[in-house]
């Protein structure tokens, strides 16, 4: 980039793609391309087999009980919107309460605002402390029989905080509320077991897990998905249609209207194989070392303040620098070949909480190295030369 080797530290936005993921997509379009679940011809059977095989890989990856509980979506945002809309229209009534947290991405705020407004429900927000940790006592005090839903981020994209999701889920279940976990920033960094966690829904995106863009997963417990009304109508989600009455298909197809992103699903399957060969335990341990190294290196930079200092963090380091705005930092680092994210990271309430307009954010993945933080620090010294 700009004549310098690329230092890619924007993995919370999207990850780079391994060769195996590129290859299966090429093979699909060259040798297997057909629509799925429809044709009687062999090509359609092959495409269907490959797509459904990928669903099976996802089921094992997150330890779902059945492939019926694994819905393909276009990404985390689509998954959350599906649950907010479909669960909301089936179960939410006036006076009910939905709880989210102060560190949610806009995609886990706005769908709940929309459905709460529609159903006359109240949206409540768990506050956090100056380190970017949720105030669990406050949360537990908020819970009541009125609480119908809790939608919570596993790992914050702007602060790196790892939230105590198991404790949140147990507390919510104790008052009869259901829980969605936004796993967008979690799946590439920590082992997820939806049954051990006991979440009711779990959403994530393929492209943050080394897979293609435009594909994602929504896990949901079967009894809930069965009880929920469909989200979108169309082909593949129906059993029979007359102008008087339509009966819906079984799970997971009830929530998969229209021709899906077939090649995306197959690509995601290959990405999961890639992660499994390395093992998320090893990934997690390695990234924790990198995070500790990067945090120490950046903390030593004069005038730098890290935003998000939770005791339990994943590989995201958000920071601000005296005298230099994050956008200027981003532009100067870019000329050094260093890609980071700058801005509010679609978490404007987090920025408001910390009284800052934006941050610069370095986020790591399994392929990053410690010396890339050395490059980042040298880049920041260049920023300081310019801004003094």
């Amino acid at each position: 980039m700009h004549g310098k080797p690329l230092v890619y530290l924007d993995n919370a936005a999207t990850t780079q793609k391994p060769e195996a993921v590129l290859k299966v997509q090429d093979v699909y379009y060259r040798q297997q391309n057909a629509n799925i679940h429809r044709g009687v011809h062999q090509l359609s059977e092959i495409a269907t087999f490959e797509y459904e095989k990928a669903r099976g890989k996802v089921k094992n990856f997150i330890n779902a009980a059945d492939v019926k509980e694994v819905l393909f979506t276009s990404g985390t945002t689509a998954g959350i919107n599906l649950v907010a809309s479909s669960f909301g229209r089936t179960f939410l009534k006036a006076g009910d309460e939905v709880i989210i947290s102060a560190m949610e991405h806009h995609s886990n705020i706005v769908p709940w605002q929309l459905i709460c407004e529609e159903r006359g429900a109240l949206l409540r927000v768990i506050p956090m402390n100056d380190n970017g940790e949720l105030l669990m006592d406050e949360f537990e005090r908020m819970l009541s029989p009125r609480t119908k839903f809790v939608s919570i981020v596993y790992i914050s994209n702007s602060l790196g905080t790892v939230n105590p999701v198991s404790r949140i889920i147990a507390a919510a279940h104790a008052v009869g509320a259901k829980v969605l976990v936004d796993g967008a920033q979690a799946v590439a960094h920590t082992k997820v077991d939806v049954r051990a966690m006991d979440c009711d829904f779990f959403a994530f995106s393929g492209h943050k897990l080394f897979g293609p863009t435009g594909i994602g997963i929504l896990y949901g417990k079967q009894e809930l998905l069965d009880a929920m009304r469909p989200y979108q109508g169309g082909g593949d989600m129906i059993r029979s249609v007359t102008f008087e009455k339509t009966t819906f298909n079984d799970l997971p197809y009830k929530f998969e209207a229209g021709t899906p992103n077939i090649v995306g699903g197959i690509g995601l399957g290959a990405a999961i194989d890639y992660v499994n060969t390395i093992g998320l335990g090893a990934v997690s341990a390695y990234e924790q070392e990198l995070l500790a190294y990067g945090t120490a290196e950046l903390s030593a930079v004069r005038g730098l303040r890290i935003i998000g200092t939770a005791a339990n963090k994943a590989g995201v380091i958000s920071f601000v620098l005296d005298h230099a705005h994050p956008h200027d930092i981003g532009t100067i680092l870019d000329r050094e070949g260093i890609a980071i994210r700058t801005g509010h990271h679609c978490t404007q309430p987090v920025m408001q909480r910390f009284g800052i307009p934006a941050t610069a954010r370095a986020s790591i993945s399994l392929y990053n190295r410690a010396d890339e933080f050395d490059s980042l620090v040298r880049g920041l010294q260049k920023v300081q030369e310019i801004f003094g």
């Binding site: 700009h2 005298h323 230099a324 705005h325 994050p326 956008h327 200027d328 532009t331 100067i332 000329r335 700058t342 801005g343 509010h344 404007q348 920025m351 307009p357 934006a358 310019i386 801004f387 003094g388």
Partner: protein, 157 residues
Amino acid sequence: MSDLSELYQQVILEHNKTPRNFKKLELFTHDADGYNPLCGDHYHVWLKLDGETITDIGFQGSGCAISKSSASMMTASVKGHTVKEAKELFEKFHSVIMTKIGDALPEETIEELGSLGALAGVREFPARIKCASLAWHALNAALSNSQTTISTESEKN
């Protein structure tokens, strides 16, 4: 080309560090907000017009060095000038920063821009062009609003 020193020229860094007219006007005839929701840069521009002349101008808010220095230089350039002159200056400035990479810059126009010409380098950084034009859009919006009587903040509320 597209060197960092082209973008962060001394005059830009100086305006960023010590912005001119970085104040709220107590008495003003026009004002408007400039906000870029994608990056969060946010400025408010106040103007006091006497007839067609901009007799005073101020701005406040937060954003990057490019947006802040552009706002500062803008206020310094239009103060004491007529609305027509300010709008002409905006047109010239806009045409310079929007000149495609590789196309020749109109040298005469850059000279007419004075210190604002320093921002011509932003065209080499497509992601930053909106930073340079943000305060100008706020100025344009303020000049387009129909409010003609002087108001103070308290009267407005």
